[in-house]
């Protein structure tokens, strides 16, 4: 045996150790650079716009102006009011829904679970459209029941926001309710606690962090929602629509920026609170005995009614859009037609191609950005890691409207070195990538955490370089997480409106925004048709990818030694 092999790598490793600190900082800077350019810089531009006067002075005059105006004060008050009630209703309903699925023996759980997730597969506007078709001026209710409901305003926003927020709150709460320790329930029973007492003394405390988490998440979603208030708000102004009116309507960037900063604050607080609480959610102890569900029609019966009611509401609101898109003149002439699918509007089907192109690009860029980010953060030493981690999750606290306005201020500017990006589909993709960066980054981080650290060490001791380990061990193992990230980006890019509304130009209008524009123009049937097309496109792409992943997995496993 010769030991010459050792001398050469040793010299190499010595050189590596010498420069290790600097290399680490360099890698951290490279990873942070895009986040600075595409998140921090636009945010700084908004802040700057809100305190910087055209004559070069700095001051809070625009804020003063804003606070004095009763119209703006009203919008602020409206935003908080409708968000408060919508959050309360969302969390209440989502809790009942999650409770029924996790803690009772109702039949058809798979079905109920799928139905509540449906809104995730559609443009957020679909709720607003559906509510109009059902309860609007020319809605089916007013038409056939002879009522005179005016849905535009507080109630319209409330209903559509609740439907939109349900799946998000439901996912958080069903995690919080899924682990139950039967020993606690037995102990409570032995101590003489009745059903209600057990619920309030065991179930609620165990889920309290999940509930708080859902409340803050719901509040953050509601307060920054743009599509629903835009369609159903009527005279009921909220901050998100107010930014749009100031910027798109009156080109008043200063006031738009002021509203953006005001919108940023409560969302930032909610997100920080939500993260802080989520960390406190205790994981169930390893000795816990799983909770055994017992059939009890006293509970399951009413629960079934409740699930049915909510599921019907979700399906009705979304389904009516599909049905309306296929009828000649909703709700007067219900005969079948495909005429609305001709999309004889400027852009037409082109918008769908823009959407697909943008979403595929966002999925491709996003999966690389999020995975690389998570990989780098995992490898960094503790202080650099914390900074980069924080930077990576900041976008969760930025409402889409605010980020979009920041992009206009940052990139529609001849002095910006990347000015050429402005007006391209690529910028729309990048905006979406960084808008949802926090969530994608967290999926990747969770995926990486599930890989036993021992595997990388095993690979090293077997003689693999860092690159070899990454390629043959780490990447294949986070493959499923990467697939989830690209699907996540694809779905969100297909349906997002808020971040892109300021960035679109005639040639680069994505389909989801076309729906909004069609609705604005009063062309509801075509808006409905386009929304249906988007849903169909999302579902078919997801099914295709899942199918390919399944076959790909089988193919890879068949590879043999040698």
């Amino acid at each position: 045996m010769s030991t010459d092999f050792i001398a050469e790598p040793m010299a190499r490793s010595f050189r590596w150790r010498f420069g290790r600190g600097q290399i680490e900082i360099l890698i951290a800077l490279l990873a942070a650079l895009p986040l600075v350019v595409f998140v921090l810089y636009p945010l700084w531009m908004i802040l700057r716009e809100s305190i910087h006067h055209p004559d070069g002075r700095w001051g809070l005059d625009y804020y003063d102006l804003y606070i004095r105006d009763p119209h703006f004060r009203q919008a602020l008050f409206n935003t908080l009011t409708v968000s408060f009630w919508a959050t309360l209703a969302t969390v209440f309903i989502a809790f009942g829904y999650a409770y029924a699925l996790k803690r009772t023996k109702v039949p058809g759980k798979w079905l109920w679970h799928s139905v509540i997730l449906l809104p995730l597969f559609a443009p957020s506007l679909i709720q607003a459209l559906g509510v109009q078709f059902l309860l609007g001026r020319n809605g089916i209710v007013n038409r056939y029941l002879g009522t005179d409901i005016d849905i535009y305003g507080f109630w319209g926003i409330l209903i559509s926001n609740v439907l939109y927020g349900l799946p998000h709150a439901y996912l958080v709460l069903s995690v919080a309710l899924s682990g139950a320790d039967a020993r606690l329930y037995d102990a409570a029973k032995m101590l003489g606690a009745g059903g209600f007492k057990r619920f309030s003394s065991v179930t609620l405390p165990a889920a309290r962090y999940g509930i708080l988490s859902a409340i803050f998440l719901g509040f953050a979603i509601n307060i920054s929602e743009f599509g629903n208030p835009m369609v159903l708000g009527g005279d009921y102004n909220v901050l998100a629509t107010e930014i749009y009116n100031q910027v798109a309507g009156q080109a008043n960037f200063h006031l738009g920026a002021v509203i953006g900063v005001l919108l940023l604050l409560p969302v930032l607080l909610s997100v920080v609170a939500e993260k802080w609480i989520a960390r406190r959610q205790t994981t169930i102890s390893a000795q816990a005995t799983p909770y055994r569900l017992e059939r009890s029609w006293w509970v399951d019966g009413p629960m079934l009614f409740f699930l049915g009611g909510i599921a019907i509401a979700i399906i009705a609101v979304m389904g009516v859009v599909v049905v309306a898109s296929l009828t000649r003149l909703w709700p007067y002439n219900l005969s079948f037609t495909l005429q609305h699918y001709s999309l004889d509007v400027p852009g037409g089907y082109g918008a769908l191609w823009v959407s697909l192109k943008m979403s595929l690009m966002a999925a491709a860029i996003g999966v690389v950005v999020a995975t690389m980010g998570a990989l780098i953060v995992q490898k960094l030493s503790s202080r650099l890691r914390q900074v980069l981690y924080l930077l990576s999750v900041v976008p969760a606290a930025v409402p889409g409207m605010v980020l979009g306005l920041g992009y206009v201020l940052a990139f529609n500017n001849l002095s910006t070195p990347v000015y050429w990006l402005y007006g391209t589909v690529l910028l729309l993709s990048l905006c979406t990538v960084y808008h949802y960066h926090a969530q994608a980054f967290l999926i990747a981080t969770t995926g990486l955490k599930q890989i036993d650290g021992g595997l990388q060490e095993a690979s090293q001791t077997l003689g693999a370089s860092m690159l070899h380990t990454t390629r043959h061990v780490t990447l294949p193992l986070i493959g499923p997480a990467m697939l989830s990230i690209s699907m996540f980006y694809f779905m969100h890019s297909m349906v997002t409106i808020s971040a892109l509304i300021f960035l679109v130009a005639p040639g680069t209008t994505p389909a989801a925004i076309s729906v909004l524009l069609l609705n604005d123009a009063g062309n509801l049937p075509q808006a409905a048709a386009f929304a249906t097309i988007i849903m169909a496109a999302i579902i078919s792409v997801i099914l295709t990818v899942k199918g390919l992943a399944w076959f790909g997995g089988r193919f890879l496993r068949q590879r043999r030694v040698g």
Binding site: T3, I6, P9, S13, E457, L556, R557, G562
Partner: protein, 353 residues
């Protein structure tokens, strides 16, 4: 692999490592001969796993040197050391088949296709898993997975095989079998092996020499029989053989005193020795406290265990365990005073620690 008859094939000198200012491994000196099987034994937190990881190159020592066959490898990264390692949690690649797991190291070392295939086949035959070549790790039992891990670690003919508590996740029966197989494999192939464990039986079963560690220091190095029968320190006595450790005083003329009485010891006593050890089963009950090495003790507790009775006694204000075999009446009430005899040939003088 050519066999080496070097007595200091792998040597560690002055190795130290601390985390956040807390020393985990302190001033370790150790040489391991080629083909030797050495075991690091100690309670959890004694630094044995850290020492193994330092040898593997997964950690870098703060000070000291590691040499392999005379070459300094202290700063060599793990992948260039060419050591094989078996982990407690198996650490098989879950996405690769058994065959591809075993072939992994060979591919890293650029073995060609035919050699790789032959070697994988050979290794799986060695661990009797040839039928499972195309299975994924999660389709195997724990014992089978650990055998794959051993085959994977050995495939590329490593200079040294490192095993980190390799059998602790397995149930008792599989553990015993695998341990015996491992020992057989080690001596047949003449592998230089380091195994980490907290189980003294395991250490005795697989090692030529045992390194007993405590609080980052080596307490004693010796064969299983040496450390069991001739512990040097109170820690080794307690940890390896459940010895009673009694504090004694040295008299001016070099004799040892226990409870003011002279204590006769057969072994040579180093000056300054202040502790002796005696196993619970070596202590004998006596009729009275008259005679050499006879002492008066108070019963604290008796526990009938069938084959033997365990007594907890207080002798010269020190607690001590005694095991009595046979049919003697041992139903002493707590507080009862009895006499014990400490046979001089069973008493082991112990060092500091």
């Amino acid at each position: 692999m050519t066999t080496h008859k070097t007595a200091n094939f792998l040597s560690l000198s002055g190795i130290g490592k601390s985390y956040h200012g807390t020393p985990v491994v302190r001033d370790i000196d150790l040489t391991i001969g080629a083909g030797e099987s050495v075991c690091f034994l100690g309670p959890s937190g004694c630094g044995k796993t850290t020492l193994l990881r330092l040898v593997a190159g997964l950690e870098t020592p703060d000070n000291g040197r590691i040499t392999l066959d005379g070459v300094d490898i202290t700063a060599t990264p793990p992948r260039s050391r060419h050591f094989g390692m078996v982990f407690q949690s198996y650490s098989l690649f879950p996405h690769l088949t058994v065959g591809n797991n075993v072939a992994y190291g060979l591919r890293c070392h650029k073995w060609n296709r035919t050699d790789t295939r032959r070697r994988v086949q050979e290794m799986l035959d060695l661990v009797q898993l040839a039928d499972h070549i195309d299975k994924l790790p999660n389709q195997l039992s724990g014992g089978q997975q650990q055998r794959v891990a051993i085959a994977r670690a050995l495939a590329a003919e490593p200079y040294v095989l490192l095993l980190d508590e390799p059998f602790s996740a397995l149930d008792a029966k599989v553990r015993g079998q695998l341990r015996a197989d491992m020992r057989e494999l080690q001596s047949r192939l003449g592998l230089t092996t380091i195994l980490v464990t907290h189980d003294q039986e395991e250490a005795m079963a697989v090692a030529d020499r045992i390194v007993v560690m405590n609080e980052g220091l080596i307490e004693q190095i010796g064969t299983g029989s040496e450390i069991y029968h001739a512990p040097n320190t109170a820690f080794v006595g307690r940890f390896v053989g459940d010895m009673n450790v009694l504090r004694v005083q040295g008299s001016a003329d070099g004799r040892l005193l226990l409870a003011g009485q002279s204590l006769t010891v057969n072994e040579v006593v180093v000056p300054g020795c202040d502790r002796v050890g005696i196993r619970p089963e070596s202590v004998q009950l006596a009729l009275n406290a008259c005679g050499a090495n006879h002492f008066q003790a108070t019963v604290l507790k008796t526990q009938f265990l069938g084959k033997q009775t365990r007594l907890e006694l207080l002798l010269a204000e020190q607690r001590m365990q005694v095991e009595v075999y046979g049919q003697r009446d041992t139903s002493f009430a707590p507080g009862h005073s009895i006499a014990v005899f400490l046979p001089p040939n069973e008493i082991r003088p112990l060092n500091e620690h």
